[in-house]
Symmetry: C2
Amino acid sequence: MEEEKQTRKGKYAADFSSFREAEARIRPFIHKTPLLSSESLDALSGRHLFFKCELFQKGGAFKFRGACNAVFSLSDDQASKGVVTHSSGNHAAALSLAAKLRGIPAYIVVPKNAPKCKVENVKRYGGQIIWSEPNMQSRESTAAKVLQDTGAVLLHPYNDGRIISGQGTISLELLEQAPKIDTIIAPISGLPVVRDFVDDVITVEDNEIIEAMKLCYEILKVAVEPSGAIGLAAVLSDSFKENPAWKDCSHIGIILSGGNVDLGVLWHSFKR
Amino acid sequence: MEEEKQTRKGKYAADFSSFREAEARIRPFIHKTPLLSSESLDALSGRHLFFKCELFQKGGAFKFRGACNAVFSLSDDQASKGVVTHSSGNHAAALSLAAKLRGIPAYIVVPKNAPKCKVENVKRYGGQIIWSEPNMQSRESTAAKVLQDTGAVLLHPYNDGRIISGQGTISLELLEQAPKIDTIIAPISGLPVVRDFVDDVITVEDNEIIEAMKLCYEILKVAVEPSGAIGLAAVLSDSFKENPAWKDCSHIGIILSGGNVDLGVLWHSFKR
């Protein structure tokens, strides 16, 4: 079991020292994002909350850190044919921007039902869009064809040590900005890594997420995506508040991970 | 003329040294607000822009700086009966919060047509609302009655040196955070002070303001009030771009002054 865990760690090759390496690599390109705090939200949660505003990162989400680290980790030879990914989300825009900075093409396989503002972001950063049907099979087969045609390097949105190390630089910044932090809450996906490294998982309901988005808008004055508001939803949820395991968490870093939300979508979700 | 100007300066008693005094006074209470920047907006404007995010200030606007300085400038005796103002805007919420921190009452005369989110802010910070009709005569007579009944101190939203010095602390923070800044653009009101101290005034149209609010939302990921977006509207306006007097302004600080905007109002103004 322990051996298997070590193997998995090795596979992703993302640890604290790789975060430091990534930080040095991407520092010239990323925004050092600000922390916000609010006495109103501290009172509501009963803790000291520090909101790490990755929605202000380039491309509107934390994803640029990982994409930037991956793109600038490639050798000149590897990079020369460009990069490819299939993503309907922020990784697509982030990879487009990172590739643009390196001066190489980015081929982005996008499902036809992707949100408009995310497609606009890919275009803004010069990514070349290749449309696929909105299912995983079509996305993967379209990406495979692009790989074959171009010789570009595939960069997966999360199951990749270079991507993970780039995202990990958030925690370094956060702890530097607020050294008192004893707990970090972040939205999660990419499940083998979560299984091995995350201490605990809190789940929240859709209505709790919408309520957290409202609080972000009304109190913090920032517009976040549903996934971006999950950390606040978690810290305000009964399952967090009532769990004795969390009672000593007093200074909590919360990652506001993305802000690419169409205003109309935000407005209509608040009216529900 | 010069003598008259000196008299007016004396009246408001707000200068650089009073900014420093105010900063020391209010430092324990205010947020040091972050600067945001965006390569997309730099490209659009042809300048380096530094957005001073006073919408993240307590109460959602820069007004807390002035209110805080005024309230904490009062002697214990002056403060004991509380403070009063007539305002439909952010000064009302800011004064409520400052009074709460000092442990004194705040009486806020609010016209019946004030925006909902601003009234909610006054209530959130414990201000006591006294409704007036939505005209200046009723606002002033209602405030006069409150003054007579309570013995509280009237704190005007802008024509007051203590208020002005508090707001002035923004510029100290801004220049500390981005020393290269050669120009500051801010929305203005309070006209005798503007006449004496402002270098130049740029006017913008409503549609330019709405466009700037959209850019703030879509690119900076912040929701600002119409008045809060005026600085960006100005720097993108033809009257700024085409005026030779401004051509050497390369590093521009822009005050995003307030973020108290109902989401529905934002959405409907974008759809126009």
